[in-house]
Structures are given as structure tokens and as C-alpha cells.
Symmetry: C2
Subunit: 151 residues, 2 copies
Amino acid sequence: MPQKLYLEDLAVGQRFKAGSLTISEQEIVRFARDYDPQYFHLDAEAAKSSMFGGLVASGWQTAALTMRMLIEGGAPFADGTIGAGGELAWPRPVRPGDTLHIESEVIKITPSRSRADRGIVTFKTTTFNQKDEPVQILTANLIVFSRAGRQ
Amino acid sequence: MPQKLYLEDLAVGQRFKAGSLTISEQEIVRFARDYDPQYFHLDAEAAKSSMFGGLVASGWQTAALTMRMLIEGGAPFADGTIGAGGELAWPRPVRPGDTLHIESEVIKITPSRSRADRGIVTFKTTTFNQKDEPVQILTANLIVFSRAGRQ
């Protein structure tokens, strides 16, 4: 079990790595049927004529898989990884058979003015494919609780 | 079939509405098992002691369901709804039984300097619950193709 992290345990510049996982064509199509039914996520043959030149995963699936890697192996925040929002970029698509991993960094720590038990942590997570090319950059604002606030 | 929209068909201030859909506890738990396995998304009883006071959907599921409503009934972009990235905020959680709908607005249109066949459209989509409270605000940068560029 990894150590559980409170606000006091974090410092700007701290880094975490997690993953990897490999995404199949079947998983791409299944997610697309439920949440993003566009032809370049559903049909490998039809997708050849799209701007992607072949089947690609929904960006929201890349985001969801990034979250899974964060929860399973990223920074183990004591009260959970709770996002208030953030910025997201998808510089290139994820394709069937790609193997993804993540690298995260603490960018900024802002203790709450109104609530002593928490702070906002700006947490940047880059998702890479097997060629170490970034496929997603997520700069999230996380609500992280303090050890002091619970005592 | 709705009209297919090219870059020339869009104007700042244009609005679109879509939805609704209702999310069940079962769907929340299933998504969480696959992508966001945290106790406040998995276990209604345990979630009572979380900051949410009960089971809530992963923000990524709210994002994915918003995408589904966009694709099924939002703005019908001619070559698909293709996001390069954007900003995301989750002002309040989605709970089992919530019924969601979306309202979108064209915020900015930036024709590409290097490629005559496309532009970037800043497209804001707010997801509301049945009390008309925003649960997600997504300001996405979409790649939208022009009719002129294909001729």
C-alpha cells in the first residue's frame, strides 16, 4: 500500500509516474457506442477516410483511462482524487494497440482561505503513448485535504 | 436528419440545446469500476462519509455523457465533433437519478491561417441537472471544416 498523501505532504515540483495499459480496438468501439458514437471511433474501415486516417479513441476515453492510471498507481491522495476542473489538450490521437502511461507533477498549491481542512492543488498529468509522444495533457485543479484540518 | 454544419454556417452567439438523459446508480458504478474506482463512485453506503454525502458520478462520466448528448442532438458539425482540448469545470456533482441536458454556444471562430479547409471554434457547453443547476461547464476548442475548403 502506498503512503496516503495529505496537503502537507505535497511540494511544487513533486512528480509521480503510473501505468501502463494497452487499449484494444474492441475497447475503443465499446466506449464510443456508449459515449461518443462517431464513425472514426466506431468503424476502422470508414475511419480511413477521416482526418485521422484510421480508428482513434474518443478523447474522453483517453481522459477516463488516464484517471484509472492515476487512481491505480498515481499520487495516492488521502481522501481521493477529486477534480474541480482544469484544462485538457489532446495533441494527437490514441489508436488501437497503443500502450499508455502517465507522468504527473505538482504545479501549484493554494491553501483554502475559507476552509482550514483543504487546499487546491494544480496537478499536471501528461499521458504518453509507447513512443513517448504526449496524447493528452491535463492540468487539473484537485481538492486535497490537510492532515492538520482533520485533527 | 439535422442540417450538417460547416464553418461558414456558424456565428458567434449561435446556440444549441440537446438531451435529456437520466443516469442510474448502476451506470455510475459500472463506469467507476472501469475508469474511476474511488469509493464515492462505487459504494452508496460508504459514499455517505465522503465530502459528497452520497454516491456521485465520476466527472469523466459527466463529460462522456455530455459528449453523447452533443453527438446525438447537439450541433451537427459536418465532419464530426472533434476536440483539440479545452477547459472543464465541475461546479457540483451528478447523483443517481439526475436527468441531464445541455446548452451550447459558439463563443469564438478562428479560421486557420495555415489550412484553408478548417478553423477552430470555441464552443461552450453547459450541462444542467433537472433543477437547472450547472454540473459541468466545458469550453472546448473544436476543429470545424469549411464548405469552401472541400471544393
